[in-house]
C-alpha cells in the first residue's frame, strides 16, 4: 500500500537519525515527501507557516508529526506544549519517536498530549518494521482530525520553554 497526500513532519536534531526515519518511511510506501525540521524553532516555523514555510505547496501541513525529545534549545517536550496551545494546530497527531529518555519525560509527553510514544530501535531493519506498523495504523486505520489549515498560528514568544 502506498500513501499519497500524507505529509509527515520529522523533527530530529540528529541528521543521521532523521535520514533513517525518512528512508524507512519511503521504503514502507510513504510517497509524499517526508518533511523534516532540525530543531524546535524550525518545527515551529514550519507549523506556523513562517518565512519559506509560507509556501504550503512545497511545505504542506503535516497529518502526523514524528518528534524526537532530545532537541537543543527548545526541547521536544517544550515543542509539544507549544503545539497544544495553538488553536489551529493543537489536534495534530504527534508520535514521539525518541532515543532513551528518563521516565519523567515520557510521562510529561503523555501529559502534554502526545498520541503515541516509541523508542528508536538500534537497527535499521527494526526501524523498518516499526515504520511499517506506524504508517499502517496512523495513515491507514486512524481517522485524522480536522486542522484549521490556513489559520495563522499564534506567535511564539520564543523564550518561555
Amino acid at each position: 500500500m502506498s500513501y499519497v497526500n500524507h505529509t509527515i513532519l520529522v523533527v530530529d536534531n540528529d541528521q543521521d537519525q532523521a535520514h533513517f526515519t525518512k528512508l524507512a518511511l519511503q521504503r514502507v510506501g510513504v510517497i509524499t515527501p517526508v518533511q523534516s525540521a532540525r530543531d524546535g524553532e524550525e518545527a515551529i516555523g514550519y507549523l506556523s507557516g513562517r518565512g519559506t514555510f509560507q509556501d504550503r505547496e512545497c511545505y504542506p501541513m503535516p497529518v502526523l508529526m514524528l518528534l524526537d525529545l532530545k532537541l537543543p534549545h527548545i526541547s521536544g517536550v517544550g515543542l509539544l506544549s507549544w503545539l497544544r496551545e495553538q488553536p489551529a494546530l493543537k489536534r495534530l497527531p504527534v508520535v514521539v519517536l525518541t532515543t532513551q529518555v528518563p521516565p519523567v519525560d515520557l510521562n510529561r509527553a503523555y501529559e502534554l498530549g502526545c498520541n503515541s510514544f516509541l523508542f528508536k530501535p538500534n537497527s535499521f531493519n527494526a526501524l523498518l518494521v516499526m515504520m511499517q506498523n506506524l504508517v499502517q495504523y496512523w495513515l491507514g486505520l486512524n481517522v485524522a482530525p480536522e486542522l484549521a489549515a490556513h489559520h495563522q498560528a499564534q506567535e511564539h514568544s520564543g523564550t518561555s520553554i
Binding site: 536534531n13 540528529d14 541528521q15 543521521d16 537519525q17 533513517f20 528512508l23 532540525r38 530543531d39 532530545k70 537543543p72 534549545h73 532515543t99 532513551q100 528518563p102 528508536k120 538500534n122 537497527s123 535499521f124 531493519n125 526501524l127 523564550t159
Partner: protein
C-alpha cells in the same frame, strides 16, 4: 531510755539540725490572727530578721519578711491544722541563696516549719540544665550535619544518574548510526556508488565523533578524580601556556587574543588551570557568528582575598535562561551543524573550578558576547 534522756536527745537534735526549724502556733478559734513563732532552732534564728524575737508573740511574717504572702500562709496553716498532712511552699531566694520551705501539722493549733538550704541543689540543677542545653545544641548540630551530608549525597547520586544516562545516550547515538548505515549498505543493492560512499563517510564521522566524546569523558573523569594538591600558581604562566595550546589546536582559525599582563598568583593547580582557561578560550572562539573574527580578552580583578579571572568573547552570547544549563555535561544549546561539540567542555571547567575550591559564573546576553569568570583564592 528514760523520758529525761529522750527529751534531751530530742532537744539536741532540734538544736543541732542544719535545717532551720520553727514551731508555729495558731489561734484555732480565731482564724484572723496570724501564726506566731513560739520556738526556733539556731539555724532558724540565723535566718530570722525579726529584731524583737521573744518566743512569744512574734508573727511569722515579721521573722521572715516578704518570704510569704501573709493571707495565703495563714490559710495554709489553718488548713493543715484542721486536716493534718504537710505542704511544700516552694522556693525563696535571699542573698543569692535558695531556701525550700515546708510546713506540716503538729497539733490542731501547732504547725512545724522546715527551711532547708537548696542552693547547692539549685547550682547542680543549673549545671545540668547547662549541660543538657549543650548536648541538645551538639545533637542539633549533628542533626544538621547529617542532613547536609544526606543532601550532598543525594545531589551526587542524582548527578551520577544523569551522568550515566547522558553517557549512555550520547555514546549510543553514534553506535546506532553506524549500525543502521551498515545495515542499509549490507541489505541494499539499489544504491549508487556515490550514496554508498556517503554512507561510509557518515560511519567514519560517527566513529570519530564517538572517539572525541570518549576523550572528553576521560578528561572530565580525570578532572573529577585526580589528586589535586593546591599550591600557588602564577596566572601569567597559566594564560601563557593555555594560549600556546590554543594556537596548536586552532591552527587554521584566525582569532585575536588580548591578555592583560602582571596577573596575580592564586591558589590552584597549574595543569588543571591551564585546562580550564584553554576550554574557556576554545569556547569563546567557537561560538561566534559566521564570518566574524573571534576576539578574546583576558584580565583579572582582585579583592583582598580573591581573584577573578575574566575571559570575554565577542560571540553569539547566551540568553540568561540557558546560563545554568551550559555547565551541565552533554548539554548543548546548538545543533551539531551550527556549532559542533560534545557538550563536555564547560562541564570540565566547572568541575575543575569546584575541585580547586573556586567559583565560576558568567555575564552574557544573546548577541552580545559572553564574559566568563572564575574566582580563586589569592596566594599571599
Amino acid at each position: 531510755m528514760d523520758m529525761e534522756q529522750a527529751e534531751q536527745l530530742y532537744r539536741l537534735m532540734f538544736t543541732n539540725m542544719r535545717e532551720a526549724l520553727a514551731v508555729l502556733r495558731l489561734e484555732a478559734r480565731n482564724p484572723e490572727v496570724p501564726p506566731q513563732v513560739i520556738e526556733m532552732n539556731p539555724a532558724a534564728v540565723k535566718l530570722c530578721r525579726c529584731k524583737s524575737f521573744n518566743f512569744n508573740n512574734c508573727v511569722v511574717t515579721d521573722c521572715f519578711p516578704e518570704w510569704f504572702d501573709p493571707d495565703r500562709f495563714k490559710d495554709y496553716c489553718h488548713r493543715l491544722a484542721a486536716f493534718g498532712g504537710s505542704l511544700e511552699l516552694g522556693e525563696v531566694s535571699r542573698d543569692n541563696l535558695f531556701y525550700r520551705v515546708r510546713i506540716f501539722a503538729l497539733t490542731d493549733n501547732h504547725i512545724g516549719m522546715v527551711i532547708s538550704d537548696c542552693t547547692r541543689y539549685r547550682e547542680e540543677e543549673a549545671e545540668i540544665a547547662d549541660l543538657t542545653a549543650k548536648l541538645e545544641k551538639e545533637a542539633s548540630t549533628m542533626d544538621r550535619r547529617v542532613a547536609e551530608r544526606t543532601a550532598q549525597l543525594e545531589e551526587i547520586n542524582e548527578e551520577l544518574d544523569t551522568f550515566a544516562f547522558s553517557v549512555s545516550h550520547d555514546l549510543r547515538a553514534p553506535i546506532r548510526a553506524m549500525q543502521a548505515f551498515a545495515e542499509i549498505l549490507l541489505d541494499d543493492e539499489l544504491q549508487t556508488p556515490a550514496e554508498r560512499n556517503a554512507y561510509l563517510v557518515r560511519i567514519k564521522n560517527a566513529a570519530q565523533g564517538m572517539d572525541r566524546l570518549i576523550q572528553d569523558l576521560l578528561a572530565y573523569s580525570r578532572v573529577s578524580r585526580q589528586e589535586i594538591t593546591l599550591e600557588p600558581v602564577h596566572l601569567d604562566q597559566v594564560v601563557h601556556d593555555a594560549a600556546l595550546q590554543l594556537e596548536l589546536a586552532e591552527g587554521g582559525t584566525s582569532y585575536r587574543l588580548e591578555t592583560a599582563s602582571n596577573l596575580p598568583t592564586v591558589i590552584g593547580h597549574h595543569a588543571v588551570l591551564v585546562q580550564v582557561v584553554l576550554n574557556l578560550m576554545t569556547n569563546g572562539i567557537k561560538f561566534v557568528p559566521k564570518g566574524a573574527v573571534p576576539v578574546l580578552r583576558i584580565w583579572t580583578d582582585e579583592s583582598q582575598e580573591y581573584c577573578r579571572l575574566y575571559v570575554e568573547d565577542n560571540g553569539i552570547g547566551i540568553a540568561p535562561q540557558h546560563q545554568e544549563r551550559i555547565f551541565k555535561i552533554f548539554e548543548r544549546l546548538h545543533s551539531m551543524e551550527s556549532y559542533p561539540g560534545t557538550g563536555v567542555g564547560l562541564a570540565i571547567v566547572r568541575k575543575a573550578v569546584q575541585r580547586l575550591g573556586g567559583r565560576i559564573g558568567l555575564v552574557s546576553n544573546e548577541g552580545e558576547g559572553s564574559r566568563f569568570w572564575i574566582e580563586l583564592r589569592r596566594a599571599e
